[in-house]
């Protein structure tokens, strides 16, 4: 019954138009190398704030799905991945374009993206309500551990090393301390600034760290892509035989990887690509233009969309930065992620999930008929891009609270974020720390108050033990990889 109501809500002209606009915008942004889905969703939040929750979320969901697919178009036609997740696609896609088979590569890419995206949304629809129901069993201690696990997931994949990843997460948690103490109601660490009484709003931080930092990075580039697209050379081809097992495999990997906090579309794409390479009967074609590689990689990165929304919608823990930005979008509409989304706000939540199915259909149609034209987007001069996006980032930060203080805050986060990123600190961990900070603090302080200061409460329940186990595994994994790399390097040096 709720699903029918949600379907009715999505099938209105306004909602369908919103999904269409969101998906097309996503393809455009995903197709622009240097611009990310996180940036797109973050910049859209101030705009969608004025819409009804379902319309706003449908636009953001469409952008997420569209951007994940959009990255593959310039990857295939220009050898310039629009998103990091499309890098694996470029390895096989561009050689195919050079062989005059760009049309085939684009078709495989869009079909694989559609299958991966659609299946993961089915999984979201099927397991999210069950998990949300299960979340009702969580107490304050479990919520603290959940936040800790979510943050550890991101910290563990930080490229600058584990120590820098942990520091990054802690920066976020410490910034989240600013403002009013949830237990005592006293203000703290506000430096006497009235604007900080309610804490540091994470939207200016998100926009600064994921939009302006990108613009600063683009100052080094004159043009994003030096290649050009020959539209006449792109022919329509049939799907190659034997491609479906690779699509299915990528879909499964992407969905599972998406659910795990911290892991993201890039990992899913490369993991699927590498396994496809190992399993293929046409191994010799890998690197020279093998559609199987495109199929696995694209199904993998698009399947992350539905997967990454599972922990966000059910437990309120965003697994990656795009879902963190989406969490901002939910919260600004007054929707607190967690079990309530599936009870009190069920029509909106199910409507949002159903809108993702439609977004997948929209990009399938666009991809099949208009994909080559979108590659032209990557040719937009960086001079226009940097100027225009800077204005949107600044006005977007201002419009959330009509506050110039937020704009200055955004610039502060942008400049310091840029330098920290260059030094190997993780911006994703900082932003997730800021988002998960209140959840972690409330959980920790409430649990400690309930147990009268006895910390064994964090180990008491079975759920707590499972969460500890996952957190420890997530922490050990990078240490093990680091140890293995060092041993291999030492072995290579000895051999020399």
């Amino acid at each position: 019954m709720i699903l029918l109501d949600a379907l009715q809500a999505v099938m209105t002209v306004d909602a369908l138009f919103a999904i269409f606009v969101g998906t097309v915008s996503g393809i455009i942004i995903g197709g622009m190398p240097g611009l990310t889905a996180t940036m797109a969703v973050a910049l859209l939040i101030p705009i969608t704030f004025s819409f009804t929750p379902l319309i706003g979320l449908s636009i953001m969901g469409g952008v997420y799905a569209g951007a994940m697919y959009g990255g593959s178009i310039p990857a295939i036609l220009l050898s310039t991945p629009g998103t990091p997740a499309a890098a694996a696609t470029a390895i096989e896609g561009y050689p195919l374009t050079q062989q005059g088979k760009g049309g085939l590569a684009l078709k495989v890419s869009v079909v694989a993206s559609f299958v991966g995206g659609t299946f993961s949304v089915f999984v979201l629809l099927a397991i999210a309500p069950i998990l949300a129901d299960f979340a009702l069993k969580f107490g304050p201690a479990e919520y603290f551990l959940l936040a800790l696990m979510g943050l550890t997931g991101v910290v563990s994949v930080a490229t600058g090393g584990l120590a820098k990843g942990i520091i990054s997460g802690l920066i976020g948690l410490i910034i989240a301390l600013i403002g009013t103490d949830p237990m005592t109601g006293m203000t703290r660490y506000d430096f006497g600034m009235v604007e900080l009484y309610e804490g540091v709003s994470f939207m200016p931080a998100l926009i600064g760290m994921f939009s302006i930092t990108q613009m600063l990075a683009l100052t080094s580039e004159k043009s994003i892509s030096n290649s050009d697209v020959d539209l006449k050379s792109i022919k329509r081809d049939k799907m190659p035989k034997g491609i479906w097992p690779f699509i299915a495999f990528g879909t499964g990997v992407g969905t599972v990887v998406g659910i795990i906090p911290g892991e993201g579309a890039t990992i899913a794409a490369f993991l699927s690509y590498n396994v496809a390479k190992a399993k293929s009967k046409l191994k010799h074609l890998f690197g020279k233009g093998n559609p199987e590689g495109i199929a696995a990689a694209e199904a993998g990165n698009n399947a992350c969309v539905g997967g990454s929304l599972v922990p966000l919608l059910t437990l309120g823990v965003p697994g990656n930065t795009v879902s963190a930005a989406l969490m901002g979008g939910l919260m600004i509409q007054g929707l607190i992620p967690g079990p309530e989304l599936f009870t009190k706000h069920a029509v909106i939540t199910y409507g949002f999930i159903l809108s993702l199915f439609i977004a997948n259909i929209v990009f399938l149609v666009i991809g099949l008929f208009f994909a080559p034209y979108f590659a032209k987007i990557a040719k937009i001069p960086t001079s226009i891009l940097v100027a225009a996006i800077s204005v949107f980032a600044i006005i977007g930060s201002y419009s959330i609270n009509n506050s110039m203080f937020d704009v200055w805050l955004m610039l502060l986060f942008a400049f310091s974020g840029f330098f920290l990123d260059k030094l190997g600190f993780s911006l994703s961990a900082i932003i997730l720390g800021m988002i998960l900070g209140p959840i972690a603090e409330n959980g920790f302080t409430q649990a400690m108050t309930i147990s009268a200061g006895d910390s064994s409460i964090f180990f008491a329940s079975t759920i707590a033990k499972i969460l500890w186990a996952i957190t420890i595994i997530l922490l050990i994994q990078p240490l093990f990889t680091h140890y293995k790399d060092r041993r291999q390097r030492a072995k290579a040096m000895r051999a020399e």
């Binding site: 100052t219 204005v391 006005i395």
Partner: protein
């Protein structure tokens, strides 16, 4: 060109200092209210401070032991610093001359700085973007964009 090692040592020291200050602040921040309700908050803040202190000390030690390498923040330092300057000037200027005028100056200036050649085209594009943002936020969403305050004194 900057030496990565020394920047990382400075950053490491900063985080160690932050951890010490945070640890020291946990009790003073909550002195004003009853002990029972603040103990858990203090424990939380102290835990964050201790973990930060340990991680920052590890990072600091690794930085000291590392061999010096050069770090390049931008391949084009002039454009990079110019954009930072333009962004600050734009936000600062917006408070005085308002959104429309500030944007009409910022956009062509940034495009020129980034290497866009045609002045006429850049002015047309700038006007288009300014109009679009104004219509979207001010007219569409009824968000009051910053208005000029510089001339208020002359007018009143």
């Amino acid at each position: 060109m900057l030496q990565r090692k020394y920047i990382e040592i400075a950053i490491g020291l900063f985080f160690v200092l932050l951890a010490v200050l945070l640890y020291g602040s946990a009790d003073t921040v909550n002195q004003a209210v009853s002990k029972a309700s603040t103990d858990s908050t203090s424990t939380y803040v102290n835990t964050l401070a201790i973990v930060l202190g340990i991680a920052a000390s590890i990072e600091l030690t690794m930085s000291i032991l590392s061999s010096p390498t050069v770090i390049e923040f931008s391949k084009n330092p002039l454009k990079f610093t110019s954009l930072i300057f333009l962004l600050i000037a734009y936000v600062w200027g917006m408070e005085y001359i308002g959104f429309v005028l500030a944007t009409l100056i910022f956009l062509p200036a940034t495009m020129k700085m980034m290497g866009y050649e045609s002045l006429i085209k850049s002015l047309i594009i700038s006007a288009g973007i300014t109009l679009f943002v104004y219509m979207l936020f001010q007219v569409g969403f009824e968000i009051l964009l910053p208005e000029p305050t510089l001339f208020e004194g002359f007018l009143s």
